[in-house]
């Protein structure tokens, strides 16, 4: 394979790359947050006097000091940047201490005396949903943050025509993103009146909205700049933006640069987690293997604040039946407020939970029918032209589910290895199991929201190129993908293109780098910009040379038949001499999607990706320790722009998905996060993982200008169910709760 290309690799591998906390400024102060000790309480009094006497302390900032709005949020404005009266979560921040050094700010925190009146927290979703429950966010009224549903076909008929019915409850845990870099922000008020912020966040424009709302500034007076970010995985939106807003608040009030860097303890305490789900599934099948209906009720614990719970649960709704054709569907999904630490976006975004359930459920159904689980999948899976449960016809792209599944079955030699599975055989010293899971995933935001992005190609007089887009690099290599696409289209070496450090003041909001949309939307807009740029250049060349420029190769511009018109540099020089800017602004607007909340019908996503993963593992019958032996993944990425980085997404997704299956959970006590640091949170280490195989499947997607689709999330959404299915074949037992904890007593 060709060596990987990354525009930021040199800086990162030499330690030169500067992340937020690596920056300092003259006169810089440091802030530290005081968190609430209880998850449900009223603030009776705050005494800052002793803390203000502490060495180096400059000021203590409270909610009443906020010049703009105290509360903000991406969907519902319910999150207080600083808590005013009522505590709803142990992640709430009551005060910010600002001091000359970080150590001094931290030392003063315990000196702030806060008197709380304890109230009874609501920690259980079903209790929270009951009629008599006190509303946690009274402005919203009910504790049901949101409700989505699907009503397809006739559920009664589905029940009647079923020969066998399977009922099973599943649960999934709250988990931590565990990005290696904690939240951090550095803000300062510029002489021109603009508050400038750098921070560890995955969406500079969302951050800008949080900062502007907190300060009461118009958006033009807030500039958020991107610097390298040490991991996000969906987790660097709300909390990260709030940290930026708090740093900006301090910097504005004190008119000095302020840095706010979270310790791991602060980060784990306050940051949102993956939504824990409770899911009750009821599925009917005919003897011939066809699924006749699915009825499901899901409840997601959103915690104390809304964040993006309505969007996360919407994806679960659309994908509630996995990648299968189901004629009759009755699905109810609730996002619920509790006093638990809040939940938000996390790579996968509502699909890992559902797939954990569905991909076990289909195997349970096949088992009851005495049918091969692969045949069962083949029979029911979506195919070219299939209608999804939300009434979307899959005909805009290649439906490659069978292709990806077949490639994994072949690579791992599934059929012959399945025959070796132990099913808990007491005669064996080691139990062997193999398992697999498949999925489809709607690309990008779908009917969650507006979905467009822009790119600027700005060619300099010497022919070198500045490129930028409105989406943010999360570490996955999206900037590199955009450079590669631009280089390909313009016939230039990647070295001649620089990805400009993005700023919210220089390019329109391209939406957040979530939903596996960074590469899709970024390269889409880049492709459109390249088209426009080539049009400008061609017109200039036509007037000079009377030749039609059609090909851009090796830094030269050619006619259709291969006649060289001129070099790239000469063409650019010509443009400038003719007073024409070789500058293009390209926009990619995602194709239209639609959704009816009443029926749960619509073209939910403009395209879909298909994936299959299989896992081999071994269980020690005595210790019940699970050892992963092999993992194989195949995903249809449309087009692999930077194959080594695409594979990196596969491996990283599988690793995270395996951790989800086997280890990861954030236990709570009275709504607060118990693990304080990474020593109490089990992450996959190099020794926990087997060698992995990544199979890149490419069916160029007609709906994507660059033909590429996103891959960040599909790669982790089916690893856990593949493990669950392998554990079933090793032990003979089903584990419907994630993380899977093997027990001897069942």
């Amino acid at each position: 394979m060709k060596p990987a290309f990354r525009n930021d690799a040199y800086a990162k591998v030499t330690g030169k790359a500067k992340y937020t906390d690596d920056y300092t400024m003259p006169q810089m102060l440091h802030a530290a947050p005081l968190h609430a000790e209880l998850s449900c309480a009223l603030i009776k009094s705050i005494d800052c006097a002793p803390a203000l006497q502490s060495p180096g302390v400059v000021r203590i900032i409270l909610a009443e000091d906020i010049p703009g709005q105290i509360k903000f949020g991406q969907i519902i404005r319910d999150y207080p940047t600083l808590v005013h009266k009522r505590i709803r979560s142990t992640g709430d921040v009551i005060a910010l201490v600002v001091a000359e050094s970080r150590a001094q700010a931290l030392a003063a925190l315990p000196l702030i005396k806060v008197q709380l009146q304890e109230l009874k927290p609501i920690l259980d979703t079903e209790l929270a949903m009951s009629e008599t429950a006190e509303p946690i966010n009274p402005e919203h009224g009910s504790n049901v943050c949101n409700y989505h549903r699907v009503r397809s076909g006739d559920i009664q008929q589905g029940e009647e025509t079923a020969d066998i019915i399977i009922e099973q409850s599943f649960s999934t845990a709250r988990i931590e993103h565990a990005y290696l870099e904690t939240e951090a922000a550095l803000a300062h008020l510029r002489p021109d009146g603009v508050i400038e912020v750098i921070g560890s966040m995955q969406h500079p424009f969302s951050t800008r909205r949080f900062v502007a709302s907190t300060l009461g500034f118009p958006l033009k007076d807030v500039e958020v700049r991107s610097v390298p970010m040490g991991g996000g995985f969906g987790g660097k939106d709300d909390t990260a933006a709030l940290v930026c807003a708090r740093a900006a608040l301090c910097a504005y009030l004190l008119n000095r640069p302020v840095k706010l860097t979270y310790s791991r303890e602060m980060s784990m305490r306050e940051s949102y987690k993956r939504h824990p789900y409770n899911m009750q599934y009821r599925m009917g099948v005919k003897r011939d293997g066809h699924i006749t209906f699915v009825k499901v009720r899901m409840v997601a614990d959103g915690g104390a604040y809304c964040s993006v719970t309505p969007w996360v649960t919407w994806r679960s709704t659309v994908q509630c039946c996995g990648c299968y054709e189901v004629p009759n569907v009755h699905c109810d999904v609730y996002g619920v407020y509790t006093n638990n630490v809040f939940s938000g976006a996390f790579r996968g975004f509502g699909s890992p939970q559902v797939n954990f359930a569905v991909e076990q459920l289909v195997e349970m159904a096949a088992g009851k029918l005495g049918m091969d689980e692969i045949d069962f999948r083949r029979l029911n899976m979506v195919k070219q032209g299939s209608t999804t449960i939300t009434n979307q016809v899959l005909d805009t792209h290649k439906v490659s589910l069978k292709q990806v599944m077949d490639s994994v079955l072949k690579e791992i030699d599934y059929e012959s290895k399945r025959a070796r599975c132990s099913f808990g055989d007491p005669q064996q010293d080691k139990w062997y199991g193999i398992g697999l899971a498949i999925s489809y995933r709607g690309m990008s935001l779908g009917a969650e929201g507006v979905d467009f992005n822009s790119a600027i190609l700005n060619v300099q007089p010497d022919g070198s190129v500045l490129l930028e887009t409105g989406v943010h690099e999360n570490g996955q290599g999206s900037e590199s993908a955009m450079i590669i696409i631009a280089a390909e289209l313009l016939g230039l070496p990647v070295e001649s293109i620089r990805y400009r450090q993005p700023s919210t003041s220089n390019i329109p909001d391209g939406g957040t780098t979530v939903a596996s949309r960074g590469t899709l939307l970024g390269t889409g807009a880049t492709t459109e910009a390249a088209k426009i740029l080539k049009g400008i250049i061609a017109e200039t060349l036509l007037s000079e040379y009377k030749l039609k420029a059609e090909r851009y190769e090796n830094s030269r511009i050619l006619t259709k038949d291969g006649q060289i018109i001129c070099s790239w540099e000469e063409a650019i020089k010509l443009c400038y001499s003719r007073q024409v800017y070789p500058y293009a602004f390209g926009v990619f607007q995602a194709p239209r999607v639609d959704w009816d909340e009443e029926t749960g019908h619509g073209n939910a996503y403009f395209t879909w990706v298909y994936g299959c993963q299989a896992v081999e593992l071994e269980v020690d019958p005595k210790s019940l320790k699970v050892t992963l032996l092999n993992m194989v993944a195949a995903h249809d990425v449309g087009k692999a722009i930077n194959p080594p980085m695409v594979k990196g997404q596969f491996y990283g997704g599988m690793a995270m998905g395996a951790g989800y299956g086997l280890f990861e959970e954030v236990p709570l006590k009275d709504g607060g996060v118990i693990p304080t640091n990474l020593h109490q949170y089990r992450l996959m280490r190099a020794t926990d993982l087997p060698e992995m195989t990544a199979i890149i499947v490419e069916n160029p997607d007609p709906t994507s200008p660059s033909k590429a689709k996103g891959i960040g999330e599909p790669t982790l959404e089916i690893t856990a169910p593949a493990i669950a299915n392998a554990i079933y074949r090793a032990t003979g037992k089903r584990y419907p709760d994630q993380p899977i904890k093997l027990r001897a007593d069942r």
């Binding site: 800086a11 030499t14 290696l180 594979k647 990196g648 491996y651 990283g652 690793a655 990474l678 060698e691």
Partner: protein, 156 residues
Amino acid sequence: MITVNGHRYEPDSALQERKLSDWLREDLVLTGVKIGCDIGVCGSCTVLVDGKARHSCKMLVKDAIGHEIITIEGISPKDGTLHPLQQAFVDAGAIQCGFCTPGMVLGALALLMVNHHPSRSEIRQALKGNICRCTGYQQIVDAVQNAARIMYPVPK
């Protein structure tokens, strides 16, 4: 006396109780030393102490006196090119967010200095103390293996 990347420092007594990681980052501006957990479990702050990989957040400045410290800033040639191990990380696609990368490179370097031809499982074992949340380690193991072949070629 502490040697850091070939330079000698005489930290005064007021500094001696500080964390080595903080001293390296804040006073010496060697910000390639990253802080992920600050309690010695993630490996982002890994430095070489007399050639051995150590978590600098678990050491005090005084613990480093009389020792030779190498940070990520100290392993590339002065001409701006990369150490073969660094180049292998770049080429193998072993870098995503990059936050674990300095510690990971130094951990791997410590291994290669004592084991010129590690197996894949030996590499995994040596990097057990370094968490990466992005890559799944696969391409990191590839990189270390490729670097070993270049740094210590086996005579044919």
